[in-house]
């Protein structure tokens, strides 16, 4: 057997956790003697980064929390023929719980291959689906398979992809456009980034198949400029594909042509809305316009256009290669296949998961995710980002499929799942998202531009302890108006965080208003930090870290906090070793 391969997870997440340092260390130290060092991307176990995998033949051992010292142990283990028993994150209980029920379709290559290598992509069957389409299937045949698979828009709209493609296929002329919406902007969401960084060829192949099915000759990937690594890898993938005549004119000699470009967005959240996205591609201000006309009738440059998001395209090659049934065997209600979620917030195992439709929220949060990171009960999960809503623990039996999630008042969205425990204030959560949408509104429509601002102001009043009960009626009335009378999804869905928290956590709002109390003890104007005299040892540690000098007391005597000076930053709480500081 030859040298084993050492794969270091160099997605943005891994790099942030220190994987680049580990990679450089191994490169320097081993110089390719013991193992072939290679790069892969995010495998989804963000909680265990940095990750290093040892691949020898069929055997793969994944090590987590790898620092330079542990990297040395791995190298020694390779040399000794006995890899370390610790940190085997796929085999420990965390890993087992995390991975056991996942089904990798869109993420099938992420963390497995070197995303910057067309060769490796081909080695796992890449571009075979494209060749199958070009050489064995008619465009209609491709459409039929996609329709049969039940694939639906993974950006959150869950519109049937096959139907959407057939609109474009039927549109007259051959000057048609295909767009990939990679303008991922939801706070806490990183699905698209992981796929772009981990499997750019999967996206290119998916778009190529779509272009064949619909007759589109031009394509754009609209990606936010804040994803430099994703853009770099995608550009490389496009260049490599061009080099092998997988992109461009007369692809693989079949007469089909498709030209793909990357367009970088400047970070406006609203550009994820398809009409605004197209305006931005054309160089205009990203502002949504009324539909109809829909993009399939008049999109980029007035030409028929189809837009799907990254995950949707990443599923395509799998469906073509393995068949629609292999995909839609996972189904729940009208939703088929799998869905990628980014688990974030106060959850034990943060990361990227792909689950079959029909698992319950509780199974994902408590099973895969391992419950809260604090050990406190999970209170709710926020799904769908700023357009979504908060689903309370009492509804954790809800199955994950678009219709069931929508019925809760939240939306499935593109896959953000932010977990909240008892220390999260739900009014504060609503305020957070409204602050986001308020800033990101394009400013065109009255209800969205001013309505979100006024909602934010009312929420701020409440979290400042200045709210009145009539504010809740005003807030709810305004939220319903904004929902009903906005042009695009940003405005129509912006009230969801408010409406769902009002629906499920009204008592938290009332506590802020009537008792001037934040049950989660999170809203600074409503809490006091104080020292428990019976526990204070007079160690002075808290007084020394306090930036505003709100804490006084002599050494070895009980300290006190001046509430008028205290900014409720919480630094003293973290510093005290004697559990002598509390929030009331």
């Amino acid at each position: 057997m030859g040298k084993p391969k050492l794969l270091v997870g160099l997605g943005s997440c891994g790099i942030a956790a220190g994987a680049q340092v580990v990679f450089n260390h191994i490169k320097e130290k081993d110089k390719g003697v013991l193992a072939d060092l290679d790069v892969t991307s995010c495998v989804g176990m963000c909680y265990a980064e940095p990750l290093v995998e040892v691949v020898s033949g069929e055997e793969r051992v994944l090590f987590g929390q790898v620092d330079t010292a542990f990297a040395d142990r791995i190298l020694k283990g390779i040399a000794d023929g006995r890899l370390p028993e610790e940190n085997r994150v796929r085999e420990d209980s965390d890993g087992k719980e995390y991975l056991a029920r996942q089904v990798k379709v869109a993420l099938r290559n992420c963390g497995v291959i070197n995303p910057e290598s067309l060769e490796e992509y081909r080695a796992v069957g890449g571009y075979q689906a494209l060749e199958k389409c070009l050489k064995e299937l008619t465009p209609q045949g491709v459409l039929d398979i996609i329709k049969e698979s039940g694939l639906a828009g993974r950006g959150g709209g869950f519109f049937p992809t096959g139907m959407k493609w057939s609109f474009l296929a039927k549109a007259p002329g051959d000057d048609k456009y295909l767009v990939c919406n990679a303008d991922e902007g939801d706070p806490g969401a990183f699905m698209d980034r992981a796929m772009l960084e981990g499997d750019p060829h999967g996206l290119v192949e998916g778009m190529l198949i779509a272009s064949y099915a619909t007759g589109a000759r031009h394509g754009y990937v609209y990606c936010r400029a804040e994803y430099p690594l994703a853009i770099k890898r995608l550009r490389k993938a496009i260049e490599e594909a061009k080099g092998q005549n997988l992109l461009g004119d007369n692809i693989l000699g079949t007469g089909h042509s498709f030209h793909l470009k990357v367009k970088e967005g400047a970070g406006a959240f609203v550009c994820g809305e398809e009409t605004a996205l197209m305006a931005s591609i054309e160089g205009r201000r990203g502002m949504p316009t009324l539909r109809p006309p829909f993009p399939a009738e008049a999109g980029i440059k007035g030409m028929p256009t189809n837009i799907n998001n990254v995950e949707t395209y990443e599923n395509v090659a799998f469906i073509i290669s393995r068949g629609a049934e292999e995909f839609n065997k996972y189904s729940c209600g009208r939703s088929t296949g799998t869905k990628v979620f980014a688990l974030a917030g106060k959850i034990k195992r943060v990361g990227l998961v792909e689950i079959p439709m029909g698992m319950t929220i509780g199974e994902v949060v408590n099973g895969l995710g391992g419950g809260s990171s604090s050990g406190l009960p999970v209170k709710a999960v926020q799904m769908g980002g700023p357009a979504g809503g908060c689903i309370p623990r009492s509804l954790f039996d809800t199955t994950i499929d678009a219709d069931s999630i929508n019925a809760t008042g939240a939306i499935m969205g593109s896959g953000g799942m932010v977990v909240m425990d008892e220390t999260t204030c739900m009014v504060d959560v609503a305020k957070y998202f409204l602050a986001f949408t308020q800033k990101e509104s394009c400013g065109k429509c009255t209800f969205c531009r001013i309505g979100t601002k006024r909602m934010l102001e009312i929420l701020t009043r409440i979290t400042d302890g200045k709210g009145e009960e009539k504010d809740l009626d005003l807030l709810e009335d305004l939220a319903n108006h904004v929902k009903k009378t906005s042009l695009c999804g940003l405005g129509q869905l912006a009230p969801n965080p408010v409406l769902t928290t009002l629906k499920y956590f009204r008592e938290e709002y009332l506590a802020h208003i009537n008792e001037k109390r934040c049950p989660a003890k999170a809203c600074k104007p409503l809490i006091t930090i104080r020292i428990k005299p019976e526990k204070c040892t007079g160690c002075t540690a808290c007084a020394r870290v306090c930036a505003v000098k709100a804490i006084s007391g002599e050494r070895k005597e009980i300290h006190t906090i001046d509430p008028d000076v205290c900014t409720r930053c919480g630094l003293c709480l973290e510093t005290c070793k004697f559990d002598a500081i509390e929030v009331v």
Binding site: P292, K444, C445, F447, I450, K453, H481, T485, L487
Partner: protein, 687 residues
């Protein structure tokens, strides 16, 4: 082109197939409001005020200006839900609209007098026209111009540059000039007789104003007055040194001359019943004032030597001032207390006012307090009477010192007695001027609703009481208040009575929505940067000796050159587009509440750099019509959307002024602006 048929509010309409819902609705006569829509521009859908319901939709409202009709479509363009949406849309827009429709002086004036208008006329020496302008709202400019506490001047924006315009005195100047030039006030002609008879009880400012405006409409008006002369509290509550008999006679006399009949010396409830007046007339207005004195609620207040302010000033009005001796105490802090004190000073007495709070809380006008002090009146703040006794023929007033405690419901800090600070003084007389109350007994046979304070209950807009055809205005409806409010309410009452007599719905005087930038102190200093200070002209007064010893009028009036100079200080606040503004029109129609979402608001930003057009970005409602007009009609990109979210603005990009752009002042943007975001410069508009 083929046609399609659809249903709007269940009415069938056939239009060309490429039409919008808005076009179809307008064809049926529905006045669907729009801001961002303009005939010559492509649909844009930003304001969403035109949103309507389409059956079979997701429950969302759709913009009618851009949604195309379909055959068999069922649309609702007017119902409660849509009204609520439009009101919400306007509430939101107005919460971010920094502009005054009316100048604050005018919107503050309880008589709604066009102050900016009459100041402009005075500036041009057109006092006669100015008098007519005032008379459209208030028939007694000479009276109000002498005695008004001037709420308008408190609101005057000029205060932020230096001092407020001398608005009140300008009315006096206008009236004096008119009388000097024409011999008497010039009243318009009354309309031909309608045959309808109206009785008014009380010849005070409210009653006489209502009578005047009803007579103008041609109704037969008879006023019943218990005194021998007209004026009510103007005469019997305000001393002649402030408001002369001559002025009263001149301004109220002409109202009688135009045909209002006043029956003097008739006391309702005694000489004749209110009920019989009701029976003999088509409508009845109660303007009986607030003629009762409030009690001090201290022991001994009924003793001889203790008078009410109303009694004292009433006697002065009859030219029968009682001699109250050399040491007079006046209790109270309002203008009546000041009037009593200044009257008493003129009888040669040593006068002290006792007031239980400090000067800051004193309800009397500041300038009145100054005048009193100037004339030698002493004011003891933080003192209150506790008992009045008579011992050995001496009138003794026991008092206690106070300190200020917590604020009460009125927001004023309540006085709290200081323990052990009691003291007693000797007085020749005590005048109690702590308030007035309505004496509704004379009209109780009408059976109308009365509040627990005795005020007659009437609607605040129509002034109709609980009984149709019977109206109440002035102090008897508001409780004791200032004359200018009695005048305004008298006029509004006349409007409603006229509606009643004409058989129309009684809705009261129509009022347009008025946007306001907010209180004086809250305004952006940038608004006042370009004005040079100019001193307020002082009102000339007679010499001190004459003041203290006679009842001669203290103030002597402006000369024309002074008046013109003063009028020229006016900043001409208010909006140039107030009469041609869809934002205001719809805000009136949908009854908008500008304060519902009080919060962050766009800042004042005027771009007056261009000679032809000016942008008042603070008034813009972001409909985007100007940006599109410039691009689509003119082919230029002078204006653009700038910023994002709540901070989005329509303006010249990159912080430029209009003059630094390609703008040639063609005015395509002005034509489509629904409000005052972009206007022609005044000079350009005239040319």
């Amino acid at each position: 082109m083929s046609e399609v048929t659809l249903f709007i509010n269940n009415r069938e309409v056939t239009v060309e197939e490429d039409s919008t819902i808005l076009e179809a609705a307008r064809k049926l006569g529905y006045d669907v409001p729009t801001f961002c829509h303009a005939e010559n521009l492509k649909p844009f859908t930003s304001c969403f005020i035109c949103a309507v319901k389409v059956e079979g939709g997701k429950g969302n409202l759709v913009p009618s200006c851009a949604t195309k009709v379909r055959d068999g479509m069922k649309v609702t363009v007017e119902d409660e839900e849509i009204d609520a949406s439009r009101r919400m849309c306007l509430n939101l827009l107005l919460s971010d609209h920094c502009g005054d429709c009316l100048p604050p002086c005018e919107s503050t004036c309880p008589s709604s007098i066009d102050i900016r208008g009459f100041l402009a006329l005075v500036r041009e020496g057109k006092e006669l026209e100015a008098a007519q302008l005032i008379r459209q709202k208030a028939p007694i400019p000479g009276i109000l111009g002498r005695i008004c506490p001037r709420p308008c001047e408190d609101a005057c924006r000029r205060t932020r540059v230096d001092e407020p315009i001398s608005i009140c005195f300008m009315k006096r100047h206008i009236s004096d000039t008119e009388i000097a030039q024409m011999g008497k006030p010039q009243l318009p002609e009354a309309a031909p007789a309608t045959g309808k008879k109206v009785a008014v009880i009380g010849a005070g400012p409210a009653g006489m104003t209502a009578a005047y405006f009803l007579k103008l409409q041609g109704h037969e008006v008879t006023v019943y007055e218990k005194h021998a002369t007209s004026g009510g509290m103007l005469r019997y509550g305000i001393p002649y040194y402030r408001l002369t008999d001559e002025t009263l006679k001149a301004e109220l006399g002409v109202i009688e001359e135009m045909g209002v009949k006043v029956n003097y010396g008739v006391e309702i409830g005694k000489d004749i019943t209110a009920k019989s007046l009701e029976a003999d007339h088509h409508a009845l207005i109660l303007a009986i004032g607030a003629q009762g004195a409030s009690a001090m609620r201290v022991e001994g207040e009924d003793l001889p030597g203790v008078y009410s302010g109303i009694e004292y000033l009433g006697a002065a009005g009859e030219n029968q001032i009682p001699d109250l001796g050399r040491k007079i105490y006046v209790v109270g802090g309002g203008n009546t207390a000041i009037d009593c004190a200044r009257t008493a000073v003129r009888t040669g007495a040593d006068v002290t006012i006792l007031y239980r709070r400090t000067r800051a809380e004193m309800p009397a006008s500041d300038f009145e307090i100054d005048e009193a002090l100037h004339e030698g009146v002493k004011i003891e703040y933080l003192n209150a009477p506790t008992a009045i006794t008579r011992e050995n023929g001496k009138l003794l007033l026991s008092c206690i010192r106070m300190e200020l405690g917590e604020p009460d419901e009125s927001g004023r800090r309540s006085p709290v007695p200081v323990k052990g600070s009691e003291y007693t003084v000797e007085a020749s007389a005590i005048v109690s001027a702590i308030g007035q109350k309505v004496l509704p007994g004379c009209v109780e046979d009408l059976g109308i609703d009365v509040s627990r304070w005795g005020t007659l209950l009437a609607d605040d807009k129509t002034f109709q009481t609980s009984r149709p055809g019977i109206f109440a205005c002035g102090d008897c409806q508001t409780g004791a208040d200032i004359a200018v409010r009695a005048v305004g309410n008298g006029r509004k009452t006349a409007w409603a009575v006229n509606q009643y007599l004409s058989g129309e719905a009684v809705t009261g005087e129509p009022e347009l929505f008025n946007s306001t930038m907010g209180p004086l102190e809250s305004l952006d200093p940038a608004m006042f940067e370009n004005y040079d200070p100019a001193d307020r002209i002082k009102m000339p007064v007679i010499d001190d000796q004459t003041r203290r010893t006679t009842f001669a009028e203290v103030e002597t009036g402006f000369v024309p050159s002074e008046a013109q100079k003063e009028a020229a200080r006016c900043l001409e606040c208010g909006c140039d587009a107030a009469e041609d503004c869809r934002l205001r029109e719809y805000s009136t129609r949908y009854n908008v509440d500008q304060t519902l979402f009080a919060g962050d608001r766009r800042a004042f930003r005027l771009d007056g750099s261009h000679e032809k057009v000016k942008m008042e970005v603070h008034k813009c409602i972001n409909c985007g019509a100007c940006v599109r007009a410039c691009a689509e009609v003119k082919g230029l990109d002078v204006l653009a959307y700038v910023n994002r979210g709540f901070a989005t603005r329509m303006t010249a990009p990159f912080g430029r002024s209009l003059i630094d752009t390609e703008c040639d002042g063609c005015g395509e943007c002005v034509k489509v602006c629904p409000t005052a975001g972009i206007m022609f410069q005044k000079e350009a508009a005239l040319s």
